[in-house]
């Protein structure tokens, strides 16, 4: 395509000056205002955004279910894997940490299997929801560039997908905990409340990470390491309290243990252990910490995600 020809073409067409902003006539922004046109990609106000998200609830639910269904659709056992995966995980952790490494010492030795499995299942829920959320925007650019919907629907759908998995895992967990000799108590009625709080935290955290992951590409490479550090810092395999007081422990200062207990994963793990395992020692202020993290993450994460709503899609 030669330039001289195009120049003549422009002259022939006599159209508006092209390639440069129009000057001299009414500014286009004014014209738009006069006819009540709105920016195609303006960020809606927070209440409007929430309403839009609510209107898309069917999409969120269907998307989450569809992802779960398609995940196992190629395997022969199909949806059975939703139960088999957590059971196999529990078996491996028990074998590795309970039998081979002999971590079942200290104050939790009497109920170590239940202690370990509960910690693992609770942590896995947060870990998977948060890692999924981090990829939910950067991994769905084609969807974002094709259809209109509040972008928060994606991290939300990823968390709900993990929540659906969790419901199955919880069935396995309860069965295993009963099998290790625990008995049903009235405290079990509070399990849904604990899960709700954890889900609120997970949604908030995955929203925040979704925004970070949408621009920081390297986050996906870093996340496994962050997650592993978090896993070790949350007392999944060992009792954090033992590391302070017990003679066999590492002799951590008390404030380190307090900080570790305050981290959200440890808080939700401890809460669930307290509810499920009768003889597990109660942490002070555990409910307060859990409620704090749930509200802080959900409100903060949602606000943080919404602030960049119009920017997702640029990649």
């Amino acid at each position: 395509m030669s330039q001289p020809e195009s120049a003549t073409a422009d002259a022939q067409a006599g159209g508006p000056s092209v390639g440069t902003p129009t000057t001299g006539q009414e500014p286009l922004a004014k014209l738009a205002e006069r006819y009540g046109l709105r920016r195609a990609i303006a960020r809606p106000s927070l209440p409007v955004y929430l309403r839009q998200l609510w209107e898309r609830r069917h999409f969120v639910m269907t998307y989450a279910t569809s992802r779960n269904v398609s995940k196992y659709s190629n395997s022969a056992l199909g949806q059975l894997w939703q139960v088999l995966t957590p059971m196999l995980n529990a078996a491996i952790y028990w074998l590795m940490f309970g039998v081979i490494l002999g971590a079942n010492k200290g104050s939790v030795s009497e109920y170590y299997p239940a202690f370990l499995i509960t910690g693992m299942f609770v942590f896995t829920y947060t870990q998977r929801a948060v890692s999924g959320g981090a990829k939910s925007i950067s991994g769905n650019l084609s969807l974002i560039r094709a259809l209109h919907f509040p972008r928060a629907a994606l991290p939300l759908a990823y968390t709900i997908q993990e929540f659906q998995q969790l419901l199955i895992s919880m069935g396995v967990l309860v069965a295993l905990v009963l099998a290790t000799g625990e008995s049903v108590t009235w405290f079990w009625l509070l399990i849904p409340v604990a899960l709700l709080l954890q889900t609120m935290f997970n949604i908030g955290a995955s929203l925040a990470l979704a925004r970070i992951g949408s621009t920081a590409r390297d986050l996906n490479q870093l996340l496994p390491f962050i997650m592993r550090t978090w896993l070790y810092a949350s007392g999944v395999f060992f009792s954090i309290g033992d590391k302070v007081s017990s003679p066999s422990g590492a002799g951590l200062p008390q404030w380190v243990a307090d900080v570790m207990y305050f981290n959200p994963a440890a808080a939700y793990i401890e809460l669930m252990r307290e509810l499920l395992i009768a003889q597990h020692e109660t942490r002070p202020y555990i409910w307060l910490v859990c409620v704090f993290w749930a509200l802080f993450a959900l409100i903060g994460g949602f606000w943080y995600f919404w602030r960049a709503e119009e920017k997702y899609g640029r990649g």
């Binding site: 022939q12 046109l37 195609a40």
Partner: protein, 284 residues
């Protein structure tokens, strides 16, 4: 060329109409099209779109770890990131009742411009103002190959913003129109490419729109389905207030559009009535 186009258009016009889809699914009612013809519906004001592309290594910078480290040390940036200036300062005003064709070579920014009008790509600078919510015709990205056709229909409809009642209403229409019959119960990964394209089109076209953006190569499949889908597009064009059509097939543009914008390397090279622009475009 022109004669052939005329003939084609006559053939299309004579075809029996597809089952009518009277139900408007768009939530906000609007005045009848006739009363508003001529008012601006889409204003594009000095629009620039810049894509960031990752991992686009040139000859000099091969993508191995040692080089990556070197680059990191030298420039301290994200070296594999390239910026592609896809749309460079486009301005125009579209009015109610317009059917605007966008032509240009591959990579001239046509699809990008369309996505920006739809509000799906954030502008780097400049702005797009619209009346109502422009929608891109296409739902492919929301569908999942491992799922059955049935599940994909439901998923696609929800992704386009329908509610459960509308999904139930449209479901049979979509299956009928796609003509895939009992294959709707099989995973989409087992479909032939033609069947997949038919189902995707059937889902995407199940919704009515105010400002409709149509990207090329939608009408795929066998000969019969091609005619059926072109009929459907035509019907959607009639229902919508303003239509943007991106196509390489100039006959379609000439036949349906009252205005043509010629994009070249992200800028408007020409903007005017179809005869003039297409004549100039065909010359180069």
């Amino acid at each position: 060329m022109a004669e052939l186009t005329e003939e084609l258009s006559r053939v299309k016009a004579e075809e029996p109409g597809v089952p009518s889809r009277d139900v408007r699914v768009h939530p906000n009612p609007e005045p009848s099209p006739a009363s508003r013809t001529g008012t601006p519906t889409v204003i594009v004001d000095d629009l620039h779109i810049i894509y960031r592309v990752y991992g686009a290594a040139t000859e000099a910078e091969k993508g191995n770890a040692a080089n990556a480290l070197l680059r990191l040390l030298k420039r301290q940036g994200r070296p594999q990131m390239k910026e592609v200036h896809a749309v460079r300062g486009v301005s125009f005003v579209a009015h109610h009742g317009d059917a605007i064709g966008i032509i240009g070579r591959n990579g001239s920014g046509k699809s990008t411009l369309l996505r920006a009008i739809a509000g799906l790509l954030p502008p780097h600078s400049g702005a797009v103002y619209t009346d109502g919510q422009p929608s891109l015709l296409g739902v492919n990205a929301a569908l999942m190959r491992e799922l059955t056709g049935e599940r994909n229909i439901v998923l696609g409809c929800y992704a386009m913003g329908m509610n459960p009642t509308q999904v139930r209403e449209k479901f049979d229409d979509i299956v009928d129109f796609s003509g895939i019959g009992e294959f709707v119960q099989f995973p989409m990964s087992t479909y032939s490419s033609g069947m997949g394209a038919r189902l995707r089109f059937a889902i995407a076209s199940a919704k009515a729109h105010d400002v409709l953006l149509i990207d090329e190569a939608l009408a795929t499949g066998d000969r019969e389905f091609k005619r059926k889908s072109q009929q459907r597009i035509k019907q959607m064009r009639d229902e919508a207030g303003t239509v943007f059509l991106v196509a390489h097939n100039l006959d379609v543009i000439e036949e349906t559009c009252n205005r043509v914008i010629w994009l070249h390397k992200g800028k408007i090279k020409m903007d005017g009535d179809p005869e003039t622009v297409l004549a100039a475009y065909n010359k180069v």
